[in-house]
Subunit: 507 residues, 2 copies
Amino acid sequence: MVHPRVASTETQPHDGEGELLPTRPLRATEIERFDDEADVVIVGFGGAGASAAIEACGAGARVLVLERGSEGGGSTAQSGGILYFGGGTPIQRACGFDDSVEEMFKYVLAASGPNPDEAKVRAFCEGSLEHFAWFLEQGVEFKPSFYAKKTTEPPTDDCLLYSGNEDCWPFNLVARPAPRGHKPKTTGSAGGLIMKRLMARATALGARVMENARAQTLVVDADGRVVGVAARVLGERRVVRAHKGVILTAGGFIMNPRMVAQHAPKLLAVNIQIGNPGDDGAGILMGVGAGGGTICMGEGFVSMPFYPPSKLVNGIIVNEQGQRFVNEDAYHGRTGDFILRQSGGRAYLIVDNNSYGRPISGMQLKAAEETVAELEGALGLPAGSLTHTVDFYNRHAAAGADPLFHKKRDYLAPLSEPPFAAIDLSIDKAVVPGFTMGGLDTLPTGEVVSAAGTVVKGLYAAGRTTAGIPRSAGGYSSGLSIGCATFFGRRAGRAAAATTTERHGEG
Amino acid sequence: MVHPRVASTETQPHDGEGELLPTRPLRATEIERFDDEADVVIVGFGGAGASAAIEACGAGARVLVLERGSEGGGSTAQSGGILYFGGGTPIQRACGFDDSVEEMFKYVLAASGPNPDEAKVRAFCEGSLEHFAWFLEQGVEFKPSFYAKKTTEPPTDDCLLYSGNEDCWPFNLVARPAPRGHKPKTTGSAGGLIMKRLMARATALGARVMENARAQTLVVDADGRVVGVAARVLGERRVVRAHKGVILTAGGFIMNPRMVAQHAPKLLAVNIQIGNPGDDGAGILMGVGAGGGTICMGEGFVSMPFYPPSKLVNGIIVNEQGQRFVNEDAYHGRTGDFILRQSGGRAYLIVDNNSYGRPISGMQLKAAEETVAELEGALGLPAGSLTHTVDFYNRHAAAGADPLFHKKRDYLAPLSEPPFAAIDLSIDKAVVPGFTMGGLDTLPTGEVVSAAGTVVKGLYAAGRTTAGIPRSAGGYSSGLSIGCATFFGRRAGRAAAATTTERHGEG
């Protein structure tokens, strides 16, 4: 999982001088003189931006990256660094897992939510082995080992893990399960390592990186073509000409409370914003200003990382009716999304002495009692509700079955060893990490399209600035964000570099 | 409720000639000659548009309405015609109900979802008595009578009803319940009557109505101010100048499958689109093209109108785990939204012989058996699941209590008289009416604002083209759509008419 390391900010995408609005592009005719120029200008030097830079440079384009922070890395650098690959990677094969492009496609399509972008899913799955090989070329290493425990991120340097719902009901009915989360070889989080490699490669290939450069708005010509970017660099405005195209890879909008409320109100429940302060929606708004359409803006990731330790998955999660409502072995993003749907956002993880362990995420113990009936009373659950739920669960768990939610046999054992405890997974009491999934509408090439479906010339985007493949909290897998950001970032870089346009005169 | 009368169409908001896109406004400098002009140009002659026209005319503005159909009325004319009023209307008082602006405010705010527009809710509630009086002035009559049965729309000419969740858990904990749905005095649906009165008043006050006039895109001047509309009128393009402003009241986007998939994927479950063919999102896209921001695009109404007959509410609704998950007396929009969240979208209404009645909406019987255990088997529910649920429910219902979901005592009676039956409320088997709730972001005045929060000069909007007060399927009440469309339509009409701007030269 992408680990939260940055708290909420009230960052707003406004120009400090109150002059430039992201949604109001400058007209090229207003620009007296461009301060800089390149073939391809990339906004943001995170996973998507660095990948775009590498490919654009590789295609011979002169690349300038505008990075808002004092150093690049973006949210990818702050993340666990899990990448989603499949179709039979060398790591999958070495670990004895059978996977195919078609099984990966079926899973990713089903996991994308009710409106998958089939063309993007197809490209992503068919290109997965090549994308894995590309990471090796960038100097990223993977250890051919499988981490079997239920976790959000391997604490070891192991690589492969089930990072989503691949082997969980009901997704295990859709496609043959295979683990597809790949963590680069390093102990703990690998996001920093990934970005170190990608940024080094981009600069080695000739990409110029301008740091402390906050893009403010795009520059368009009389035909509406995007031809540049205005940025604030250490307090001064600099307007940069882009001869071939601008690529927006500036993150999502989880750090912008106003946008979250307007577009993805369910994410108001998030209390740990996953991202970096630049995820304030400015990239999306700039794209909108130039005519880009936004899609899936209401979708987002709402997590409930109650495990590890993985033995907690042996517990059962109940709502304020004392009823189960999800298979507890589901990915924590699916669990969070389901808890959000329960009345009052209330949920408790019920464990017995055998399955108890202190959650590393900081979830709190709500009650501990000698009997389930006493626990039911302590939680204020209706009399007879939790006791029935536990009885029913135990009876079937003893036989290795979960007829209600089909939790895997590995996590089925009667809850019978006192004391019994409840860990509070209520939305307003728990640690709830989250991020946005909506953004600019793009073609699989990375070209930004308008709300009417027409291409916005000269404008590309990738990463969280776009609505990519994952567009459902209920189906998210760790590794899809960085996997897609780098995959479609590369495509955007190549597409922008391949743009054949007459070199525009200055203004 | 707003009754579905129009099936889905594949209408797309594209110009037949492939030239004009709603998202690409014309520039005033491109217009050689305007074909017509007015102070205020209104796109759409439904509830919002007619109300805007009346107020703009009343303020002395010259008004031109562009109506896409061969006659006006919009979705309001096709609806049940329930209007949401409160704070102590003459009807509420005559029927013995105590209500106040503050109680209405508390309820509407809570029902708006997690991101209410408090300023709009405040204005709507404080202005409710005046808005009711205004309807009387337009010649709309209301009978001072209360319809007590649970229904989607009174089949009689009675006026007042509980049209939402006012007296249902958990909303009954938030504000003192009062019925606020007001249906004009006519037997059955009243939407046509409302529009007949409003359209007649608008034209009597001097509004010109151009029918068969499909607005295609807006016209903006060099400063980005909206100064007109381009429309297709009986096959010919006509460009209309708006000296004071353009008001977009062109409906939502439930008839545009592409937009539904992109923005409100949960509404893909809707199989009866509530609206008229003009609800194809063109109004929203035109606003976007001129710089308007959209909000709440993921929100929408997903209904499950299993009642009337109201005795069906005595049944219990269970999911494929055989568990209840909602108070069955909740408003059908809330019930639909909750069913959508169950695994597989599966749900069954379980009734006994006493509570059975044929649903008028066309929901189908799934199974009927002599015992609950047999019904459980016939439905393929896990053994012991439904039987426990019914036992638990019956035990408490006999004592007049529902400790799980707090259904009102009126609908609590043990399910004990064989045979027992299940009516299929599964999303893919049932009648699922729905409509969109997202749209242009507006101020309480009706002014459209950009994604950055700045006013788009010369542009106003109301009705489903905007994201108004109701923005949560779980909290919707019948009457809020037409109530808000007319209330904020009036405000937009007044605001546009009050615009003081130099009369622009032609082009």
